[in-house]
């Protein structure tokens, strides 16, 4: 499944400072869909190059990270259970505090 993944608010530093990743993610074996839970595991293995604790906590993202699926908060689409579709855009953004 082709997806566009974007990292912002400093999270890009965990994946070699690259903000936009056009990726191809396979569905888990035996499954007929790809969920955000699957995608997080895939990102953790394939894109995060350092300090994974700055991205993942437990089976979800760490506090302070907003996840957007097609410009919409994943809380509104079922969080980890959100089903992804071809060409979806998923954004991971760390909340900023500076000023």
């Amino acid at each position: 499944m082709h997806l566009t993944l974007e990292f912002g608010g400093g999270l890009e530093l965990l994946c070699e400072s690259v903000k936009v990743h056009n990726v191809n993610v396979d569905m888990p074996k035996g499954a007929d869909k790809l969920t955000m839970k699957d995608l997080l595991a895939w990102v953790r293995t394939n894109l995060i190059k350092e300090r994974p604790e700055m991205f993942i906590k437990g089976e979800s993202v760490r506090p302070g990270v907003l996840v957007l699926v097609n410009d919409c908060d994943w809380e509104l689409s079922g969080q980890l259970d959100t089903t992804l579709e071809e060409k979806d855009v998923v954004v991971f953004i760390s909340t900023l505090h500076g000023g």
Partner: protein, 468 residues
């Protein structure tokens, strides 16, 4: 030496006092000039009315000239371009003039926000800040001028706002916002603008807005990115609905550590002023339930839909017990594991035997002691300024580059006898301690860090060493 030092500080004090006085006098002149302008702009009408009416027919004073909105002649002229906007007009301007807005923080975000809020005619504008103006603020905190370096930001910002618009009321709150004073200060305003720079302040301000029922315009900027949204507005989410758990302290970067391109908070601060003006004047759709994300490098602004108010929210949810008393008792620094003030942290990881001061290091250099100095700052920091003959190995790549340290030590030993020492330095003396801990674990038992880093070198050894 001492008497000349005493003289210098006396002269500095005198200059400060005179500058204060100058600012006061200039302020007074401005107020009087504005008063005069208002008088003059009203006078012709009055004279005309009097001569035509001759005291017997109904007067055509400003009050009768269909000015039910209450704007004075001076206000009509000053805000004429607002009044000419069909979607803004007299009603919105009149609402704005009756509104009160509090801006917390007169820094990178607060600077443009305050300038535009003052210019646009917010009736009462409050400013909270406890900091003083510093030279390294000037690149982004555009409300301040060089003459105010060393003076309170609140004073500087208030003077700038008043010189743009002497007809509005500016209130100075020269103090740090705390749970002890936040309720009292924030309750005096209709709308709050969060222009602070740290996580505990953001939770504190949002919670206080919920308790007091005030809308909150929240902006943030770091590096080349900015974020903006409106919380607690007409049933919308609060900060805690979005972020019920605080992020780890290591994820809360500060502009003073990570840097920020000056214009980025400038843009977000302007947008904060815009959202505050929309709420105050009751025009348009404030950015509630949405978040604006700004990426300077790709010149992209996108607005995303965020969750609504959470029924489970600890502060604004359905079964909340959070109230003014709970707010006063809440420890925001403990909750977020980071300080409300912006002063950089001072770690103490090492025993005194594993540390030397910058002065001691200087003596060892002068005595020709064979040693290796490892600078563990990131490469782009090292490029700004560094000590001679130091070896730059950033902390993040320390483990991988240990062989370089070993061979540098060997080189020193060959040149100047046995037992070359290993010193580690960074900007302020925190990362150098982490590095020494790491090196000691890898067998470099004698590794020592330089207390206070390059900052202490500049303070205690070489006053001409550039600091950033």
């Amino acid at each position: 030496m001492e008497s000349s030092g005493g003289n210098a500080s006396r002269i500095r004090r005198e200059i400060e006092a005179l500058k204060d006085e100058k600012a006061r006098i200039e302020q007074k002149i401005l107020e009087l000039e504005n008063q005069l302008r208002e008088e003059v702009s009203l006078a012709p009408q009055q004279q005309e009315n009097e001569s035509v009416c001759d005291g017997c027919c109904p007067s055509l004073s400003a009050a009768d000239a269909n000015l039910a909105h209450g704007l004075t002649a001076g206000s009509i002229y000053r805000y004429s371009r607002h009044l000419l906007l069909p979607s803004f007009g007299v009603q919105a301007q009149s609402n704005l003039l009756k509104s009160s807005i509090l801006v917390v923080g007169a820094g990178g975000l607060g600077s443009p926000a305050l300038l535009y809020l003052a210019a646009s005619g917010v009736g009462r504008l409050g400013i909270v800040d406890h900091d003083v103006v510093e030279l390294n603020n000037m690149h982004r905190q555009v409300i301040h001028t060089e003459t105010y370096i060393g003076q309170p930001k609140v004073k500087s910002a208030a003077a700038a706002c008043q010189s743009i618009n002497s007809t509005i009321q500016i209130v100075e709150h020269e103090q740090a916002l705390r749970t002890s004073n936040a309720l009292e200060i924030m309750s005096q305003y209709d709308i709050v603008v969060d222009a602070t720079d740290n996580a505990p302040s953001r939770y504190m301000i949002s919670d206080c807005c919920v308790v007091l029922g005030k809308p909150l315009v929240s902006g943030a900027a770091l590096g080349l990115e900015g974020q903006l949204t409106v919380y607690n507005y007409k049933g919308g989410p609060c900060y805690r609905c979005l972020f019920p758990m605080p992020p780890p302290a290591t994820a809360c970067q500060r502009c003073s550590d990570s840097g920020v391109l000056g214009v980025v908070p400038g843009i977000i601060g302007c947008l904060q002023a815009l959202e505050a003006i929309k709420i105050a004047s009751d025009v348009g759709e404030p950015l509630s339930g949405q978040m604006l994300l700004f990426d300077a490098l790709s010149a992209r602004i996108r607005s995303v839909k965020i969750r609504g108010r959470s029924p489970q929210c600890e502060v604004c949810g359905e079964n909340t017990t959070f109230n003014q008393q709970r707010f006063k008792d809440f420890d925001y620094e403990k909750f977020t594991q980071s300080p409300l003030s912006t002063s950089p942290q001072k770690l103490k990881l090492l025993t005194p035997e594993s540390r030397i001061t910058s002065k001691e290091y200087k003596e060892r250099v002068v005595s020709g002691e064979p040693h290796v100095l490892v600078d563990v700052r990131p490469e782009h920091h090292y490029k700004i300024v560094s000590l001679p003959k130091s070896l730059n190995i950033p902390l993040t790549s320390l483990e991988a580059r240990v062989p370089e340290i070993s061979s540098a030590l060997k080189g020193q030993e060959e040149g100047g006898g046995s037992g070359a020492n290993l010193y580690v330095i960074c900007r302020r003396g925190n990362d150098s301690q982490r590095a020494v801990e790491c090196l000691q674990n890898m067998g470099f038992d004698l590794a020592k860090d330089i207390v206070g880093g390059l900052e202490s070198w500049a303070n205690d050894v070489d006053p001409n060493f550039p600091m950033y």
